[in-house]
Amino acid sequence: MLGRTAYGIFWMFRYLERAENTARLLEAGFRMALTRGSQSDEEWRSLLTTLGLAAAYDDRFDETTGPLVSNFLLRDRENPASVLAMVEYARTNARMVRTALTREVWEATNEAWMALCEAMARPVRMAQLADLLALVRRQAMLVRGALEGTMLRNEIFNFARVGTAIEAADNTARILDVKYHVLLPSVAWVGSTLDNAQWEMMLRSVAGERVFRWLNAGTLDPRGIANFLICDGRFPRSLAYSYSKLASNMNGLAREHGTTLRSHALLDSAVTRLQAQTIAEVFEFGLHEFLTDFIAANRNLADAIAADYRFIE
């Protein structure tokens, strides 16, 4: 396949994953704001910080309110990281690599774009937010389902999954990093409703709140949450899971090409590091430091994949 096609597939799935993650974060923030009443402005700010969009937002608006932030994150034409913009990038990439996709995957992507354009044609009111975010998630799942159900298991599929896994790992690490302080042991944390709500938001933003409760019989504790999001290979948005998927798809590429490349070596050492580390060691090393290193290594890995497989000349 063409290097440019691999590039297009990789980014198509990164954008879709990012759009979905932004929607989940917004959903978590929305719930948080609902339950927090007067302090809710802070929650909306924290959402912007998590997404790295606080400065871009402040350039455009003087105040931070739910409707403003929601519309900025969902549909603002001036915000290149809005959900709508990312779905549009994903669809543009899909058009570019049309010949590499099954009709089902292309149509699911095109329909997702059409449905979201229509749903967000006008400013979104807070009363519509929950339905709209559910629509974003559902459309993303339809594309994923079409990929899963119709695509040949060849390098095209591998590049799609690699893009998804790199992006999912990056997103989870960033969410953890922005909120890492609420996971650190401190005198204030014990049983306070504030931190409970923060933890819940963190879990919710990676679609993990139900699973976590189920696994932990309803108790929330910071170390358990960090362990869940970093080390638990069963949870599809944990770093461990993303990296196990990365490993199997990169192995697929190595098999198909009959050779391992620099990116495989980078990935091997990252997986080894991730597996060898207990959550206690992560906290000892420093959660923030660990996540900073992880995000940088994840980015390097993406660059190495792009170079190894000739995404660009």
Binding site: R95, T99, E107
Partner: protein
């Protein structure tokens, strides 16, 4: 403005209002259908087109916007016998076009024989000096041709235009049929229609049969070259590549290496044997044609001339469909085939000639005047539908550069019914059959693309100006 006169040939209704044989089986079916249901099916078709992304991009103000070409569900129907006669004429014309191109770039016998004035070749941008003395692999110049036909009577098909560069529209021909079959499956069991779905395979076979020497010993690697996703015909480029199982490449994916043109794959550089290019000559090779262009593959023309790649269509074929050449086509067909042309040309006045110019100026209000190098229905005057002021403005342009124009009578294009809220209504149509040429022979897909002017009385069928398309049937029996 109503130009539909009594002289107009309607393809469904005869002079007495009876149904012509081609449409009888269809009309039996149609008359039995619930019209409200049909109207709903029309909307279903539109949403299918949108979902599958069968769109074209519009240049200009709405740059980047994707539009649908309106689709009308009433098929345009041609009998088997009509088609047999028609396809003979098409084949003859396409054979002549290829022989003409070979001659133009070699000995120029036709000029020496005094059948074509040298002046129409001189200073003609469509003529490529780089092609002189070179014969493309298999001797084929126009691998893919679209012949635009209009009909004025039961057996009167005329060629309006030859498309010998990169004719488009074939994806609509294929998708229109798919859509019709999905909407009205039972109709196809009642009326037997010759299939068109083999076109992509025929195209792949035809291109592979033109592979260069460098491809000897392996299955030829065929790629489709597109200007990219913002091109108006991008959907078609992707569609054809997909249907042929070929890579869809942009010039940035290509480079010349070790005497071959190669595409950048995830495993490294892979040599291409045949490139079906959907870019203009000027954007093929910046070294040869357009040094300021960022597009194209530097050096591809050298590789081409050395037998390292086949370019389809060959560079320089545009000279054969130039409007200045068009009026000589009857002579051209006769010169190379030794036969009388089976298909007529539309009568054409060359404004470069003084007598013709005088006639054209005297009759502007009745004529269609076209720019010699224009396309897409732009830069033309349709006399009968233009205001006095428009005609006066055009006259000035015409007087300033008469050699830049040709003129034709306003033709009574045949009509075919479309589906409207008020029932069937006649609209003017043309037809673009698609022709494949390889050393193994000439392959014409039965039917082609019917373009229809959706506005009552309008004669402009171009999709850029409000035209739509129809499924085109050639009956099997």
């Amino acid at each position: 403005m109503q130009t539909t006169t009594r002289a107009t040939f309607d393809e469904m209704l005869d002079e007495d209002g009876g149904i012509r044989p081609a449409y009888r089986a269809f009309r039996d079916w149609y008359d039995a259908q619930d019209k409200a249901w049909l109207a709903k099916q029309g909307q279903v078709a539109e949403s299918v087109f949108r979902r599958t992304g069968i769109t074209f991009n519009v240049y200009g103000e709405d740059a980047g916007q994707e539009r649908l070409i309106p689709f009308d569900m009433i098929p345009r129907i041609i009998t088997r016998d009509e088609w047999t006669r028609l396809s003979r004429g098409i084949e003859q014309r396409v054979r002549a076009l290829n022989a003409f191109l070979h001659d133009l770039y070699h000995k120029r016998e036709i000029v020496k024989a005094g059948r074509l004035p040298e002046r129409v070749l001189r200073d003609n941008d469509a003529f490529l000096p780089e092609m002189v003395g070179f014969t493309p692999p298999g001797g084929v110049y126009t691998h893919i041709v679209g012949i635009d036909l209009v009909r004025t009577g039961p057996d009167d098909f005329m060629v309006l235009e030859d498309n010998a560069r990169t004719p488009s529209g074939v994806s609509y021909m294929l998708e229109n049929r798919e859509t019709m079959m999905a909407m009205f499956p039972e109709l196809f069991s009642r009326v037997r229609v010759q299939p068109v779905s083999d076109y992509p395979r025929a195209l792949a076979r035809s291109l592979a049969a033109c592979a260069p020497e460098a491809a000897a010993g392996h299955r030829p690697v065929v790629s489709v070259l597109t200007p990219g996703i913002y091109n108006s015909a991008y959907f078609e480029h992707a569609f054809l590549a997909d249907q042929m199982g070929a890579e869809l490449v942009e010039s940035s994916d290509l480079r010349v290496m070790d005497g071959r043109v190669c595409q950048r794959t995830t495993r490294g550089w892979q040599a291409i044997d045949v490139i079906y290019r959907r870019v203009d000559d000027a954007f093929l090779d910046p070294l040869t044609f357009n040094p300021t262009s960022m597009l194209g593959v530097p050096g591809i023309m050298d590789i081409y001339r050395a037998g390292g790649i086949t370019i389809a269509n060959a560079p320089g074929t545009g000279i054969a469909d130039d409007k200045a050449i068009y009026s000589f086509m009857p002579e051209i067909v006769e010169f190379y085939t030794g036969e009388k042309p089976l298909l007529k040309n539309v009568p054409t006045w060359r404004c470069a000639e003084a007598d013709s110019l005088k006639y054209v100026l005297d009759n502007l209000k009745d004529l269609v005047v076209k720019e010699v190098h224009g396309s897409g229905g732009y830069g033309m005057l349709i006399g009968p539908t233009s205001s006095k002021a428009e005609i006066a403005r055009f006259e000035k342009k015409l007087r300033a550069r008469p050699e830049n124009y040709i003129a034709q009578p306003t033709l009574a294009l045949s009509t075919v019914p479309i589906f409207t809220k008020a029932g069937l209504a006649p609209r003017h149509v043309d037809l673009r059959p698609f022709v494949l040429v390889s050393p193994k022979g000439i392959d014409i897909t039965p039917g082609g693309l019917t373009r229809v002017a959706l506005k009552k009385g309008s004669l402009v069928v171009n999709s850029s100006q409000g035209g739509g398309t129809k499924d085109s049937w050639v009956l099997a029996e």
